[in-house]
């Protein structure tokens, strides 16, 4: 992450705020949907600029713990072949890796879901 990140985040946050507070109320309904999509895109871009070092480490650690598959292509072949069907430490490690990977992505797309008990989000792309 570069040192410019905080300023870029502020830039995106302010752009989003103005879009929502000044432009959206003045727009007709059809254009408001488009504006909501843009606001959503700006929020996602802003979260991409956060420091994800810890989550990246968690992914790398979970991947390291999953031995026997040099890369994810090999892992996919093993999953499809049924080699990871039965309960085993390796299946558990694969599930842990998958979960960690999804959590890293959620930190950008939908951080509300990072809380295990939370099932926020709604399969909808224009959520406030």
């Amino acid at each position: 992450m570069t040192d410019d990140a905080p300023e870029l985040r502020e830039l995106l946050a302010l752009a989003r705020e103005l879009l929502q507070s000044e432009l959206m109320p003045a727009l007709p309904a059809g254009a408001r949907f488009t504006a909501a999509l843009i606001a959503n895109a700006l929020a996602i871009a802003g979260r991409e600029l956060l420091d994800h070092g810890e989550a990246d480490c968690a992914v790398a650690d979970a991947r390291d713990a999953l031995t026997g598959f040099p890369d994810d292509d090999d892992l996919v072949v093993a999953i499809r072949s049924g080699a990871l069907d039965a309960p085993s430490p390796q299946r558990l490690a694969a599930l842990t890796y998958a979960t960690t990977l999804v959590q890293r992505r959620l930190a950008v797309t939908n951080p509300a879901r990072l809380n295990v008990a939370n099932r926020d989000g709604n399969g909808s792309i224009s959520a406030p």
């Binding site: 890369d71 994810d72 959620l106 950008v108 909808s124």
Partner: protein, 324 residues
């Protein structure tokens, strides 16, 4: 517009047709819908023209097939807009299309789960929706007009298609792959085979103050186990934030099951429904990737399509919870 007016005149047998409005409607990342106001021999008629989009998700059907499905549903007594005329002549509006009557109401999922003036009492609405679904499921193979549907599609067919798609894109997706493998191994043996809507969910039906005015979006329909549609309707990803109302963000699961059982005479197997809910997240996750790919391929540049791709992680998350 002259060509369209001439088409409507020929199709309806009218002498005089005037098009007063032809305007793109919002919604529908896959097709393009146009509000069409026509005056046919002196009578104003509110219509919708549904046209193929520049590019389509691989599994979605053509407008001609969707028209045949709509006719079958209309005949079976499902609440759908009356299908009127179809054409595969691209010269009329730029792509194949069909025309149906325009039903009043809104389909916006987030509004429907929050605004109870739409559709009224929630338990009743959940029951009405279950009855609509049971009505769709009265359509059974074989049906000559629906021959294009081909054989029933199983969970295994979906998994194999998903593998082929993922291989084409060259993406390794361990979370999704674990889910797909689980779906393959745990697929319930098919029991009954009926017409499935395959996208029967909040967001795909129109409501006004009086209740359901139309079941929309038939392009994914095919033959299969009725539990698949029930699971799709109940899946978390279609509750639009009202997660505690497990039947589509509208009512309780029990109210929905009970009404479905009463209308269909079929016993709802909860274990089967839960399987198809897990399946729903995998299928939506694949469709989300396909939508993003439509943008990436340059076929259709769209912020909406790109944002649908950002739903992948939460769908993968639900999928992993389903197989845990």
């Amino acid at each position: 517009m002259e060509r369209l007016a001439a088409f409507v005149a020929a199709a309806s047998g009218a002498r005089d047709v005037r098009i007063d409005r032809y305007e793109r409607m919002s919604g529908g990342a896959i097709q393009e819908n146009f509000a069409l106001d026509a005056n046919i021999d002196g009578r104003d008629v509110a219509l919708v023209l549904r046209r193929d989009a520049p590019s389509r998700v691989a599994v979605s059907r053509t407008r001609a097939d969707e028209f045949a499905l709509l006719r079958a549903a209309y005949t079976a007594g499902v609440t759908v807009p009356e299908p009127l005329w179809a054409s595969d002549d691209p010269a009329i509006v730029g792509a194949p299309f069909f025309i149906m009557r325009r039903a009043p109401g809104t389909a916006i999922g987030r509004r429907i789960v929050r605004d109870e003036t739409l559709g009224g009492d929630r338990t009743t609405l959940a029951a009405r929706l279950a009855e609509q679904l049971a009505r769709i499921h009265t359509i059974r193979p074989p049906q000559a007009d629906l021959a294009f549907l081909g054989p029933p599609q199983s969970a295994r067919d979906f998994v194999l298609d998903a593998y082929a798609f993922l291989d084409r894109t060259g993406r390794s997706e361990p979370p999704l792959e674990l889910g797909l493998r689980w779906l393959d191994v745990n697929a319930p043996a098919p029991n009954d085979t009926v017409l499935l809507h395959r996208d029967f969910r909040t967001g795909n039906y129109l409501l006004d103050a009086g209740g359901i005015t139309a079941i929309l979006d038939w392009e994914f329909a095919g033959w299969g186990d009725p539990h698949e549609d029930i699971g799709w309707f109940c899946a978390w990803c279609w509750r639009f934030g009202s997660s505690d109302r497990e039947a589509g963000g509208i009512g309780t699961r029990e109210a929905f099951y009970t009404a479905y059982e009463r209308a269909s005479g079929m016993r709802v197997d909860d274990v089967r429904v839960r399987y198809w809910e897990t399946y729903a997240h995998a299928r939506w996750a694949i469709v989300a990737r396909q939508q993003t790919d439509r943008h990436r391929s340059g076929e259709q540049r769209s912020l909406e399509l790109l944002l649908i791709g950002t739903l992948e992680p939460e769908l993968d998350d639900e999928l992993l919870r389903g197989i845990a």
